[in-house]
Symmetry: C2
Subunit: 328 residues, 2 copies
């Protein structure tokens, strides 16, 4: 396991994705793979879209949170889990905690979408948000609570079990369509991208199915980090894709993506919004901007004429933004 | 078969739905069944939504058209098929004809949505629409072409094979969730409603799963016909649900629905639009107004607390209407 030696952290392997898929089977939906001749014509490739936008809680995040929580010792889980997230990871971990009867605290920024705060609370989680305005403050507050209450930190993306769980979406896609030339996956922290690389190995497709990442131009941490050869932090994150705002790749995720030499491209917010509307019009599903990033990345990845899997990661969208974008 | 004796037309039976399901397997998608705790809370029932809005061509109509065309003698199919439709049946039959390499003519009103005219043409069908402004003119033009060109008429809903094919959507739903208390289905001509009743019998659920229909108040032909005991025509059809505009139940469909004593309710256009937005917000799929009618009918059907299947029939929506409705 050279990756472990290089990074001195617990990096997951392909077998962990297979184990996660077994573990998650009773809890997560096998989401459909959608196709559309009109979409194929618009993008110039044959697209197999894995609709994690239809997953319970509206994103793939449930997979990673559940895979991690299911493996916690009973006493640790009973003491309580804590998560830091403004959005999909909060919803996913709240649903996971509710399913397993585990007490959950989520540290969210005060500025989080009110509907998301309410949805997380409705699933029984304690929400801490007073005085939290950014990611640094959120992690600081989480560490205070860990120290005072003995909570277990569930990292939203830089955790071996979360990565393996996220990878099960790509595994299901490749099990349904084993002959894809590529799988394209949105990335900021990089959990679902790194997990997708492991899943491709687990499916026996390393070297035949390329895994590629797509980022917003305003938060291109993987592009910068791969160029630099080490994890780089984006000084100021600016993107409409509120599901892609982690300012740096996770250490484990970067190690996996760099080792696989996976291409990662950055696209404009305009391209992401166009892709969101294109997905709604052709595949007839709601995606949030981050969920459409994979489609937005197709032109830059040079996949014309290929059979391409794309992970539609989530659908927890601002409805006014969604409606405005459709009207253009 | 008392229905045949009563109506003197070929009324399909439960076995025809099972045969249709076998016949269609290579061609149609087994659409997913979607659920949402937020939807359940909003409607006060546990909903299992059969997402025919994600079916190829954006509606269940492909099922009936294919089931009918697959059973035509080769020489009849090769001579050509003709269909009358402003929307989903045109798209479904065009895709069916394309799959089977059959020449297809569709008579559509001049006022049909331009995107739908273009989509039907793009699938290789001949579109006849000059001087056609309503259903009566469309059927008259179709009969001229049948006489002059020897084409085979594929009725969009009042045809035994079309009904059996449409019923396969409900059959798939009941095979995935056999213990539903009810299945709620939109109706104007009534093919998918009548087919759903046969499917429920085929699944061994007659008497345990109630099948109910929902219509717009502005086109309540089944409500009127059931009250009168015979097929009644709605004098002036007025509804936002352009997928539910057949002005009278099909003879076969009425016979099946009346014989089953299936309840049918009418709902306002406002309730249909509210349901369209609710489906998008909770199930994260696009539905057109007719596709949301089943959800709109739940309150009037007295299904509080029950396990209810709902057929989301289609997604070929006007995007400006969809976006405007989401913004309310």
């Amino acid at each position: 396991m050279p990756l472990v030696a290089e990074t001195a952290v617990d990096v997951p392997a392909a077998a962990d994705v297979l184990a996660a898929a077994e573990r998650l089977r009773p809890y997560v939906d096998t989401t459909p793979v959608l196709t559309s001749p009109a979409l194929d014509e618009a993008v110039g490739a044959t697209v197999f879209a894995k609709a994690e936008c239809l997953q319970r809680t509206g994103s793939f995040k449930l997979r990673g949170a559940l895979n991690a929580m299911l493996q916690l010792p009973d006493d640790v889980r009973a003491r309580g889990v804590i998560n830091v997230s403004a959005g999909n990871a909060a919803l996913g971990s709240a649903a996971a905690a509710q399913l397993l009867g585990a007490p959950l605290t989520v540290v969210m920024p005060e500025t989080a979408v009110p509907e998301k705060l309410a949805a997380v609370r409705a699933m029984g989680a304690r929400v801490v948000c007073d005085g939290v305005t950014n990611a640094a403050e959120a992690f600081a507050r989480a560490h205070e609570l860990i120290a005072s209450e003995g909570l277990h930190l569930l990292h939203p993306f830089d955790d071996a079990d979360v990565i393996a769980g996220a990878g099960t979406a790509t595994l299901e896609l490749l099990q349904a369509h084993p002959d894809l030339d590529a799988v394209v996956i949105p990335a900021s922290g990089g959990g679902v991208l790194a997990g997708g690389i492991l899943a491709t190995e687990a499916a026996g497709r390393t070297g035949t199915t390329v895994v590629a990442g797509v980022q917003p131009e305003g938060n291109d941490g993987f592009v910068r980090s791969l160029a630099a050869g080490e994890v780089q932090r984006v000084p100021q994150v600016r993107t409409i894709a509120d599901g892609l705002t982690a300012p740096a790749p996770g250490v484990r995720n970067f190690a996996i993506v760099a080792s696989a030499k996976a291409p990662v491209v950055a696209v404009s917010d305009g391209a992401i919004l166009d892709a969101m509307a294109l997905v709604a019009r052709t595949l007839r599903v709601v995606v949030e901007p981050s969920g459409a990033a994979g489609i937005a990345g197709l032109p830059a990845l040079g996949l014309a004429g290929r059979r391409v899997g794309v992970i539609l990661t989530g659908s927890n969208v601002s409805w006014s933004l969604f409606a405005e974008t459709l009207q253009k």
